[in-house]
Amino acid sequence: MTILETDPQAGESAFPEPNAVGTRARGTAPLAEPAEWVAVCPVTDLTPGRGVAALLGDQQVAVFLLGFPAGSPDLRAVGNIDPFGRAAVMSRGLVGSRGAVRTVASPLLKQVYCLDTGACLDDDTYALPVYPVRVSAGVVEVARWVDAA
């Protein structure tokens, strides 16, 4: 299982520019090398305000389409496994905001996470891994972590 170090402090700019093609997710440690972009689905298959689960090798990712501000898709990708409930359900959570932070709530016991940093806002000892996500030729792509070891 991949372990990620996250640093919520580094991700204070809560509303990053949408569709940040090719940039790594805000607030995460440098990518373990090398990373590989994996096609998930056409962006038109996503429902604004909802998530889907995607399989990246042995990793499960929850990809959310937050909307189309300024006409471009605003996407986020975090780990799909709820660290409290230990079930692969995060893609089925409801997205929203807490203050200026974009959030997703676990559908199991409703803990809320920052979609930009992965930090759990209700218990800062937990966090979700965050994945880079982009749209390439109309297809959503997520970067797969590859264990450095």
Partner: protein, 838 residues
């Protein structure tokens, strides 16, 4: 050798228990042991609320707080053990177990026994008294054997008699009340009040016989009932008789021991509760304080305190006399009597306002100055009691007649009461103490109860406490979440008034931010309650909680459970076979739910449409187990099969379940229908409970199980099918429109402004003129219903969400695993989280 002194308490009723508490609260150093002899097999319970035992039948629910002294080593509570003899000279008590206990102080709290007048046949096996839980259990057996609607006769039309009549009514009987005096409640109300009371009670279907006595009770072989002969020659049939003609002090033990007793019974004590023998005290109903016995709990509590003070020699506390005020809701009729209700004070003047149309009678007794309130009687509407009673002995801050006029302000208003005015007379808590608690941060009725004890005994002052809280400006935020300052009910009104049909527009116009897991499903529910659109249509799909989004119940390992609807618990053999085949083919764990249907656990998200295809093809539809919506209508088998059933409960349950299926609401809704008073469907534990009687359906509302179980309360009785459904339509729609998020009917009803009475006025009398509107809303719902699952199966777009991985639809989620090695299939969760922990 035990250095501690013994206190023996004889009797563990409400007053005996209070004495032990007062004693233990004062004796912090632990200088005294307390031995309590409790004749009944259960420890102290709420005898004042005895009739609330009916229907619940759970002695534990009647228990007084702390009545087992579980963590107190200095209290020795002996259940089922009574005192048989007192040896005052040796200071020793002999118990029914043969034990002899020496005492430093002996406290007699033996209470009263029911008075049975010398009537021929009073010892009949079907003649009962009304005093203990055991008495009520025995009455229940006889009432149930007689069947619903059978006549029951109560001897005595006083306070207790009306209580007993109410109990018989709750047991499904048709009560007769026989009172020797010319009116009901002769001790509390005057002739005018008695007449209004008799009218109100008669309207409820009770027969009142005043000015007559009961002369004989005999078995009538012809009818199988009792033939009860009255002094005017009338003979009434009755399945049972309850004597409720007053009580007498239980002073037999004291008499044998040579203690001085009063002319009319009772152990004579002085104002310090001391009897004629040193070290022996008497408190509560058995005590005749300077010759007078008090049959209410509040004076008993005062005596308990005094005895504790005296025994510990802490102070020379004295009994100040007692307030014999009463406020009751008997048979749903408010009756209050306080102060000098009968205008016995020389020069007292009576101001009477009687409104036979409204069914109210109100009387104030004032001193000859026309200002000082001495007492009063309120029948039919006792709202003013809470504010009038504390004014006894004081000047009325307004024109007395205005205080009781129809349509006037009820009473002078709590705000005008002085701080020392008593709000809770059971526990002697003043307005000042309650306001003090509020000032120190108490902001709920529960807080006030905890820190002042006000409202913990009879609960009659709870409305006043609520009012004081509201007046003090304590306001609990009703905001739904950080995105909406409005409550759910307010948002419902906004949606209804503006016609807004999307979350985004509602948020833009009335909220802030982007929404969250609280407001999105709430708004989705409101939108669903107000239209028949599919819950996964368009933007609605993004608002639904995972359960509604996948139309199944999320379980802990990320799989779902599936519950097909089985209206009224009915299911065909073919459907059972299909369900069995599905469970076998998909490897699902099956369990029968509490709502008479079958739950299939462990379905992966991509399996849900496959499972539902087969269920829908077999004629089944969504059970909405995943929604805040109607779940089930539970029923017993009813008159079609059952020997006791009086109506077709399954038929009615099916009708109701078909009518309300798919109805989105603030929280889940459960209904129940029982075919007779035996109540096998446990309908009174449901949001809406329907119980059949010979005379039609009885409708109960506001019950639920869950964390704080609550029995539904009777809203209307003797209804035909059509009226029953109309009332349920109105009740449910009113609830949907005005309840808070996740507020079930019981707390909604409890908090409903004006209480059950107001709710009844709105639902049954339509005093707000909204009944047509509520019914029309329900008619729209019924007409627009479509099975959610069938609709999804017909819609490729909606089916697309049921996939394990959007980029690997053929790969099942590898983290899902089960273990059925024990014979019961259970989910296996992932190992310890391999996630950062800081």
């Amino acid at each position: 050798m035990n250095a501690r002194k013994n206190i023996v308490v004889v009797g563990h009723g409400m007053v005996g228990h209070r004495f032990v508490q007062e004693m233990r609260a004062r004796d912090l150093a632990g200088t005294h042991n307390v031995v309590v002899l409790c004749e009944e097999p259960v420890p102290a319970y709420d005898r004042v609320g005895l009739s609330s035992y009916v229907g619940v039948w759970d002695p534990a629910a009647m228990a007084l707080a702390g009545n087992d002294y579980g963590d107190d080593d200095l209290v020795d509570l002996r259940l089922g053990e009574s005192a048989t003899m007192i040896d005052c000279a040796a200071r020793e008590v002999t118990t029914s177990a043969g034990d002899r206990i020496s005492y430093e102080a002996l406290v007699l709290a033996t209470g009263s026994y029911p008075f049975v007048p010398p009537v021929e046949g009073a010892d009949n096996a079907r003649a009962f008294v009304y005093r203990t839980l055991g008495d009520l259990d025995a009455i229940r057996v006889a009432a149930e054997a007689a069947g619903p609607g059978a006549p029951g006769l109560v001897v005595g039309g006083g306070l207790l008699g009306l209580e007993a009549a109410n109990a018989l009514r709750l047991l499904g009987m048709t009560p007769h009340i026989v009172e020797f005096a010319p009116r009901l409640m002769p001790l509390q109300v005057d002739e005018g009040g008695g007449a209004v009371l008799a009218n109100l009670v008669t309207e409820l279907g009770l027969s009142v016989h005043t000015g007559v006595s009961t002369t004989a009770i005999a078995d009538d072989a012809g009818t199988g009932m009792l033939a009860v002969t009255l002094s005017d020659g009338t003979v009434l049939d009755a399945a049972l008789v309850v004597f409720s003609a007053g009580v007498r002090p239980q002073d037999a033990l004291a008499r044998t021991a040579g203690l001085q007793v009063g002319e009319r019974g009772g152990v004579v004590v002085d104002t310090a509760c001391r009897t004629s023998e040193p070290g022996v005290y008497a408190i509560g109903e058995v005590a005749a304080v300077e010759g007078r016995c008090y049959g209410l709990v509040a004076p008993g509590y005062t005596m308990a305190e005094i005895a504790a003070e005296q025994i510990l020699a802490r102070s020379d506390a004295r009994f100040p006399g007692a307030d014999m005020s009463t406020k009751l809701k008997l048979l749903g009729v408010d009756v209050a009597s306080f102060g000098d209700a009968m205008a016995a004070t020389p020069g007292a003047l009576e101001i009477v306002h009687s409104d036979p149309v409204a069914g109210t009678y109100k009387k104030l007794v004032v001193a000859d100055d026309m200002r000082t309130l001495l007492g009063g009687i309120l029948v039919g509407d006792a709202e003013a009691y809470a504010t009038l009673k504390p004014l006894v002995g004081r000047e009325i801050p307004a024109d007395p007649s205005a205080l009781i006029a129809t349509g006037g302000e009820p009473g002078p208003g709590l705000a005008k009461l002085p701080d020392d005015a008593e709000i809770c007379s059971c526990n002697g808590v003043s307005k000042g103490s309650i306001c003090g608690a509020i000032a120190e941060g108490a902001c709920t009725v529960a807080d006030i109860k905890k820190c002042t004890t006000a409202g913990t005994t009879c609960g009659g002052c709870v409305p006043s406490i609520t009012k004081l809280l509201a007046d003090s400006g304590v306001e609990l935020s009703k905001s739904l979440c950080e995105h909406f300052t409005q409550s759910r009910a307010e948002l419902f009104s906004i949606v209804a008034a503006t016609g807004i049909r999307s979350f985004s527009e509602l948020l833009t116009r009335f909220g802030t931010g982007l929404g969250c897991e609280v407001c999105k499903p709430t708004v989705a529910s409101i939108l669903a309650s107000t239209s028949s659109d599919h819950i996964l249509d368009g933007e609605m799909a993004a608002l639904q909680d995972t359960n509604d989004h996948f139309l199944a119940n999320l379980q802990r390992n990320g799989t779902y459970s599936v519950v097909p609807r089985m209206p009224g618990g009915e299911v065909t053999p073919d459907q059972l076979i299909v369900i069995g085949e599905i469970a076998r083919d998909f490897g699902l764990y099956t369990k029968i739910t509490g709502g008479q249907r079958i739950d299939l656990f462990g379905a992966r998200v991509e399996e849900l449409p496959l499972i539902w295809r087969r269920l829908v093809d077999a004629g089944m539809e969504s059970g909405h187990a995943y929604g805040k919506s109607l779940r089930t209508v539970k029923s017993c088998v009813g008159s079609t099969w059952c020997r006791y059933g009086v109506q077709d409960s399954v038929g009615m349950a099916v009708t109701l379940e078909r009518r309300y299926r798919g109805l989105r609401s603030p929280h889940k809704l459960k209904l129940g229908v029982s075919g007779c008073a035996r109540e096998c469907a446990e309908a009174r534990g449901k949001d809406v409970g329907v119980i059949a009687t010979d005379a039609g359906w009885n409708l109960y509302v506001g019950g639920n199980g869950g964390q704080s179980p609550k029995h539904a309360e009777l809203l209307a009785s003797g209804l035909d099918d059509e009226t029953l459904i109309r009332y349920i339509d109105r009740y449910l729609m009113l609830y949907i429109r005005t309840a808070d998020r996740l507020q079930r009917t019981a707390p909604w009803q409890e908090a409903f402004d004006g209480g059950l009475e107001k709710l009844r006025d709105i639902v049954c009398q339509d005093i707000l003129g909204i009944a047509n509107d509520l019914e029309a809303a329900m008619t729209r719902h019924v007409a627009g219903y479509r099975d959610e699952w069938a609709a999804v199966l017909d819609d490729e777009d909606k089916l697309r969400r049921f996939v394990s991985f959007v980029n690997a639809p053929d790969t099942p989620d590898p983290t899902i695993a089960f273990d059925d090695s024990s014979g019961r299939k259970v989910p296996v969760l992932l190992g310890s989280p391999a996630f950062p922990t800081r």
